[in-house]
């Protein structure tokens, strides 16, 4: 009866409410984390940058989210000329919509009736952060990075995407200066939806290729 406390007796390793203590997930700083802190504090001490400037940059990155990419995808679904510009130069098309993506070199790859695209960075964690914000944790794991190029269909099934054998899977390894966004196929039954409503169907995973857009 772990929730009875009448005897004021606590087992070793149990909290007063009778639950086992869970170990903290704090870990010692890594070498590179220490290096980052040291360099940041030196830059501040020497007057090169201010804490406020750093906070502004962190806020700017945190303000980026998959909603930005969803807006781009929805625009491409309703505007064929924009879609063509997106496929020609996805960075410029995103800037045209007013997104501040800095120097991002972005390529959009289109899912069609017979092609499905999947994005990975096997070498590290390259991701279109300047448009979509920070990547999900799993995107940076060795498991995803190694298996996405080795057995993409098995990985997709684990994400709930079971592709017909006739679909060609194209995996894109972000090995250098480009970043990638999947332009998912527009779901059927959405003809009467507005651009804003369409954007609400576009998930982060559908722009990585590990998911499909929501059905209306």
């Amino acid at each position: 009866m772990p929730h009875d406390h009448h005897d004021h007796f606590h087992h070793e390793g149990l909290s007063p409410s009778g639950h086992p203590y869970r170990s903290d997930n704090d870990e010692p700083l890594s070498y590179w984390q220490c290096m980052e802190i040291a360099v940041r504090e030196l830059l501040i001490e020497k007057g090169q940058i201010t804490p406020a400037e750093i906070a502004v940059q962190i806020d700017a990155m945190d303000a980026r989210s998959p909603a930005n990419g969803a807006a781009v995808v929805a625009r491409a679904w309703v505007d064929p000329a924009f879609k063509q510009r997106l496929l020609d130069n996805a960075g410029d098309a995103s800037r045209e919509m007013g997104f501040d993506i800095g120097p991002l070199n972005l390529i959009a790859v289109e899912n069609t009736a017979d092609t499905h695209n999947l994005i990975v960075c096997t070498l590290c964690s390259c991701y279109p952060r300047n448009l979509l914000g920070l990547p999900p944790d799993w995107y940076k794991t060795r498991e995803y990075r190694s298996r996405a190029v080795r057995e993409p269909r098995a990985v997709l099934r684990e994400f709930g995407v079971d592709l017909p054998a006739g679909t060609t899977v194209r995996v894109h390894d972000s090995t250098a200066d480009m970043r990638y966004i999947v332009l998912p196929a527009r779901p059927n039954g959405t003809d009467s939806m507005t651009e804003t409503e369409l954007a609400s169907l576009v998930t982060r995973d559908s722009m990585i290729g590990t998911g499909l857009p929501r059905q209306p």
Binding site: L123, A165, T168, D177, M178
Partner: protein
């Protein structure tokens, strides 16, 4: 006919962005991307030469042989010119 290329199978030390699993593999240039600073110099704070960069498309059969999950699926990667041999 698209340009067929092979990724050089050299194994130099240091920071390189040509993945080991593609070295020695043959593909074709899907599109040229322009010239970018060589990461093998940039990584060490050196003045970087601009190197042409290409998206190279490989079949899964070429990369993984008989172990390929689906041989005709493809993998695209960005490879710098100095890592490519024209075939």
């Amino acid at each position: 006919m698209a340009d067929r290329v092979r990724v050089k199978s050299m194994m130099p030390p240091g920071h390189v962005r040509a993945p080991a699993y593609l070295r020695g593999k043959t593909g074709y240039i899907e599109r040229p991307l322009g010239a970018f600073g060589n990461p093998e110099q940039l990584a060490y704070g050196l003045k970087a030469d601009k190197k042409p960069l290409y998206r190279v498309r490989f079949t899964m059969a070429e990369i993984w042989g008989d172990d390929a999950e689906n041989p005709s699926d493809t993998l695209d990667a960005e490879i710098y010119d100095h890592w490519l041999e024209r075939l």
